[in-house]
Symmetry: C2
Amino acid sequence: MTYKVITISREFGSAGRTIGRQLADELGIKCYDREIIGEVAERSGLAESYIESKGEDSSQGRFSSMLGRGYYQGMTNEDQIWQIQSGIIKELADKESCVIVGRCADYILKDRDDVLKVFVHADIEKRAKRIVEVYGETAEKPLKRLKDKDKQRRAYYQIYTEIEWGDARNYEVCLDSGELGIDTCVQILKTIVKGTE
Amino acid sequence: MTYKVITISREFGSAGRTIGRQLADELGIKCYDREIIGEVAERSGLAESYIESKGEDSSQGRFSSMLGRGYYQGMTNEDQIWQIQSGIIKELADKESCVIVGRCADYILKDRDDVLKVFVHADIEKRAKRIVEVYGETAEKPLKRLKDKDKQRRAYYQIYTEIEWGDARNYEVCLDSGELGIDTCVQILKTIVKGTE
């Protein structure tokens, strides 16, 4: 098996993005994360901040829209964003070897057999420490913020995919970055990708 | 972090036992699996086959016993087996560096911080192929047998532990042995254990 694309699904504050970037650097490939939002903005005409607010960290989505407006009224902005984003992720996977962080890329690329699906998680206390240190989170209590984020991402997966977010069976590899450390996680993933080339 | 003990929880047919044995061989430590049943038999006076029938692949357990006999009637054989087995696993972890396959060792040793908790899984089609090849399973249709086993192990975890069997967040590492291959899984785990010594 040769893995062309590595998708990293991650709990907020678990360093999934950092692991993705380091892995991409070491493999000499690109890492896509927020860049995808820019491209969605370009294609949809919607503002990046608006797109972000309707993404995986949104507590809204197709479900709440459906409740609010009746089922047959057509696509919401959330649905449109989902569709454009899915298209972009599929194009990226066709075009080049890359790492894609978040954005349900694991689900969107589920029919390809050259995708290494990774889930990165960590104990909530360690994630709280990290978001204070790295992002300087101060606006809210970090534990509450993490619990809200976890809930939002889980809900987003439930609404847009058939995947139970964080069920090990949906990924080739799941790693506890808080226990193993960022560098070990990167090395494990690199070993898998290089070893299966 | 130095990992003294590696627990391997696994789906039936996912080669978790083989990975455990190979890892133990490469690390020069012991691997405990069925040996624990022998020791439970020794201490309880119950037959090994009986103990096995009441273990993690049993569809019975504390819950069904409770239903059948009223709550306050004392320990069932299942409870006694659980208690003795837990004691043995704790003793093993105290005594020596080792690999322990199955038997809810991840939960039993949850208060130790020197335990690397691993979950091994694989696609059901690949597991079916494996149990036919390795164990020569012919008595039942392999897919049905696997579904029953999955259900039993999940139920056993629900009854005896607080752990959602297969939720990535309960383990430091989860590996899809069907995709990654047995040797790669062993190498990943060895890298983690050696790298953190």
